[in-house]
């Protein structure tokens, strides 16, 4: 097991360094190889992780809970690496090498976080994800990207300052029982739970929810999220939304375990319920009226993080299993949705949904796949998200939290309508006939201008949403167009294949999760309920 853990920690980092030194095409290939290798390595960890999890080299440990989050991150790392090969076509070699350097380090930090046996190293790994991903958000070098990355790094770093304070209080609590030289190892803290002083643990948990919650995107500390997700390059948006938010939620779960062991489940569950309901409420309302397709999906991420928090607050075994399944299904579904949205932004040269029409015809593969991904994201069967949300609601009803379960169902339904309304208009609505000549000219002007004069022309014309999507897609736009009208066709097969894989995973998770995975989830849910 140690060899596998070390390989997971070494491979992406080595590939990151190599990516910066080799041509972009080679960087793309080795990044895909790294993603696939990491996913395979994490799969190899699963059988061992369902048993007792020893600590290696003082600071490394992979138990069932870690493995659930590792699976989500590794799958998305592999899928998005394939997608990025298509997305980056037409970019300069320098840009692509910088992208792959940051992309691999980002993936490495997210894979490292769940493997840390100590709350201190967990904090460090998550801080590394922040600084690296802030640079990736800024990599587009547009006004919007610069603004979003500054807000992100400032707000997330401030949040992580609070998370560090939480870690310090956890150390203080642990030191009272385990001795002054304890290294904040998670398992000893949980084992000593009932003997830990209550006040520092309570404060540590609150600060952790607030601090790491900033990275998770829990309301009211979510404000960086829609900006960063919408302004980042699409492969980064997919990783941010599908993997980073979950990794940060993992940190909250570790504090939840300690708090649960010390304080009982009432206080931590109540805290998560408040943040979860607030997040779900705001997000389900905000999906209405969004004009930027990536902001729409970003608010959907806030919604799903709220669902996770509410699911944990129910505390029932089936709800906790649903939460962990939701982590995996959301990674696949949100990754898919962002990758699909990325194809649309490439095709239309804008992120504004009002300029996207007739997607099913113009994108014969990506159109239907995006529709299916959004339906999967909205918990329609047979998606894994349907199964996970069903389990969460069942857990809520089973544990007697009828009101919260009802609120969850209502708000998820509202969010579904918001998502469905926006995306179906993009996919199904034809360009209005009466307005076709003038409006088509206005809409179609985006890629023409970009093709003619680069992203600078589009930046002013489209304000919030136009430029970033357009910058690197000039070549693809030119390929997708014929004489001023968009011709049906896909920008790149590389951008379709990972979405197909994601849908296959979603159906698998929804219809019949593999036995090993079910065991893993059951074991991880038991850990959240206090099992070692």
């Amino acid at each position: 097991m140690l060899a596998v853990i070390l390989a997971i920690l070494i491979v992406p980092l080595a590939v990151a360094v190599a990516s910066f030194l080799v041509p972009a095409r080679v960087a793309a290939v080795i990044t895909i190889a790294s993603g696939v290798a990491c996913f395979g390595l994490v799969l190899a960890l699963v059988p061992d992780a369902t048993g007792a999890a020893p600590v290696y080299l003082s600071y490394l440990r992979a138990d069932a809970l870690s493995c659930v989050f590792l699976l989500a991150t590794a799958f998305l790392y592999a899928a998005v690496a394939v997608y990025a090969a298509g997305y980056l076509k037409g970019r300069t070699d320098r840009y692509a090498r910088r992208f792959y350097l940051g992309f691999n380090v980002f993936a490495w930090a997210m894979l490292a976080a769940p493997l840390m046996s100590s709350l201190a190293l967990l904090w460090i790994a998550i801080e590394v994800t922040t600084v690296v991903s802030a640079l990736l958000v800024a990599i587009e070098d547009t006004d919007g990207a610069a603004e979003a990355s500054w807000k992100y790094v400032l707000i997330a770093s401030a949040g992580l300052g609070l998370a560090l304070l939480a870690t310090i209080f956890a150390y203080y609590a642990g030191a009272q029982v385990l001795g002054a030289h304890s290294n904040l190892a998670i398992q000893p803290l949980i084992s000593a739970g009932s003997r830990l002083p209550k006040t520092p643990v309570r404060l540590a948990f609150l600060l952790a929810v607030l601090g790491y919650g900033t990275k998770v995107g829990l309301v009211p500390v979510h404000t960086w999220l829609p900006d960063a997700h919408s302004e980042a390059p699409t492969p980064v948006s997919a990783l941010l939304s599908g993997a980073l938010l979950a990794t940060s939620f993992y940190a909250i779960l570790r504090f939840y375990q300690v708090a649960g062991a010390t304080l009982g489940s009432g206080f931590p569950r109540g805290t998560l319920l408040v943040f979860g309901i607030a997040s779900l409420l705001l997000a389900s309302l905000c999906v209405f009226g969004q004009r930027d397709i990536k902001r729409l999906l970003a608010y959907s991420s806030v919604e799903h993080m709220g669902i996770l928090a509410i699911g944990v607050s129910f505390g029932a075994p089936i709800a906790l299993a649903g939460v962990l399944l939701h982590v995996l299904a959301h990674a696949a579904a949100k990754g898919n949705a962002f990758m699909g949205a990325g194809v649309f932004t490439v095709k239309y040269g804008t992120k504004q949904m009002s300029a996207m029409r007739d997607g099913l015809r113009l994108l014969p593969w990506s159109g239907p796949l995006f529709l299916l991904s959004v339906f999967a994201l909205s918990a329609l069967p047979p998606s894994g998200i349907f199964r996970s949300e069903f389990e969460i609601v069942a857990g809520g009803i089973g544990s007697g939290d009828y009101a919260a379960a009802a609120v969850l169902v209502i708000l998820v339904t509202i969010a579904f309508f918001g998502l469905a309304t926006s995306t179906t208009s993009v996919l199904l609505a034809p360009v209005p006939a009466a307005k076709a000549p003038a409006e088509t000219a206005a809409t179609e002007k985006i890629p023409v201008e970009i093709a003619a004069s680069g992203a600078g022309a589009a930046r002013g014309a489209h304000g919030n949403g136009g430029a970033p999507a357009a910058r690197g897609t000039v070549a693809m736009q030119a390929r997708g167009r014929a004489g001023g009208a968009l011709a049906p066709g896909e920008p790149s097969a590389w951008m379709v294949v990972p979405v197909l894989a994601g849908l296959a995973v979603l159906v698998l998770l929804g219809v019949h999760p593999p036995g090993e995975l079910s065991n893993l989830i059951t074991q991880a849910a038991a850990q959240l309920r206090g099992a070692p």
Binding site: I124, L135, A146, W150, V153
Partner: protein, 225 residues
């Protein structure tokens, strides 16, 4: 009647109070260059406190930590920030000087209220003991709130970055008070992480300046959360 505090407790309380005063100084200063100086002084206080604790509790690791912390926060970070700001005369033209969202007096008054709130919140936790100067911990709580205020009331990227760095100083104060015996490896990792954050903040500040010829955040209004 409470016994008189020992050398360690007394020193910790005095240093914490001085750090809070320096934090208010940063809030009040119009020029970022002066804020950087105050930040360096505040960071030096942290190193002094680490040395005091190391001597009092016989923790040799803390000497190394004090040296590392001083090298990074007293010298390296201020140096990087000064280089980003350029000569003093340029600061005015970069939209940095006096970039308050509130008037300085209102900002200080609001921060006093926040500091009092933080002080009494942390004070009411009842976390105290022979090795834990409760007053210093309460002051660390007050500093956290004032650091947030600094990030909020100033509309330039340099001051906001300094606000974040001083937040980190507040957390360091709490760490020294509560967790002085945390293994050196982890403490060093925390510092390394801060270094990484400083580099990224510096890169983003430079990127912002190269785009807008200003360090002001007044024009960062296109994205609305």
């Amino acid at each position: 009647m409470n016994p008189a505090p020992g050398v360690y407790q007394g020193a910790a309380d005095v240093i914490a109070a001085l750090m809070l005063l320096l934090e208010f100084g940063m809030l009040r200063q119009a020029l970022v260059r002066d804020q950087v100086r105050l930040y360096a002084a505040q960071s030096a206080m942290i190193s002094v406190l680490a040395v005091v604790i190391a001597a009092d509790r016989n923790l040799p690791d803390l000497y190394a930590l004090a040296a590392l912390s001083a090298a990074l926060k007293v010298f390296a970070v201020p140096l990087v920030l000064r280089r980003l700001l350029g000569p003093p005369a340029v600061e005015e033209t970069r939209g940095v000087a006096g970039s308050y969202t509130l008037s300085p007096a209102s900002a200080v008054l609001a921060s006093i209220v926040l500091a009092a709130f933080g002080f009494f919140c942390f004070g009411s936790l009842g976390i105290h003991g022979a090795d834990v100067p409760a007053l210093a911990l309460s002051v660390a709580g007050a500093m956290v709130f004032v650091a947030f205020a600094l990030m909020i009331v100033r509309r330039d990227v340099a001051s906001q970055a300094i606000g974040f760095f001083s937040l980190e100083n507040a957390v360091s104060l709490a760490a020294l008070v509560l967790a002085a015996e945390l293994p050196l490896l982890l403490e060093t990792a925390f510092l390394f992480d801060l270094l990484l954050a400083v580099v990224v903040f510096g890169m983003l500040i430079r990127a912002h300046h190269s785009r807008s010829e200003s360090l002001s955040t007044a024009d960062l209004t296109r994205l609305r959360g």
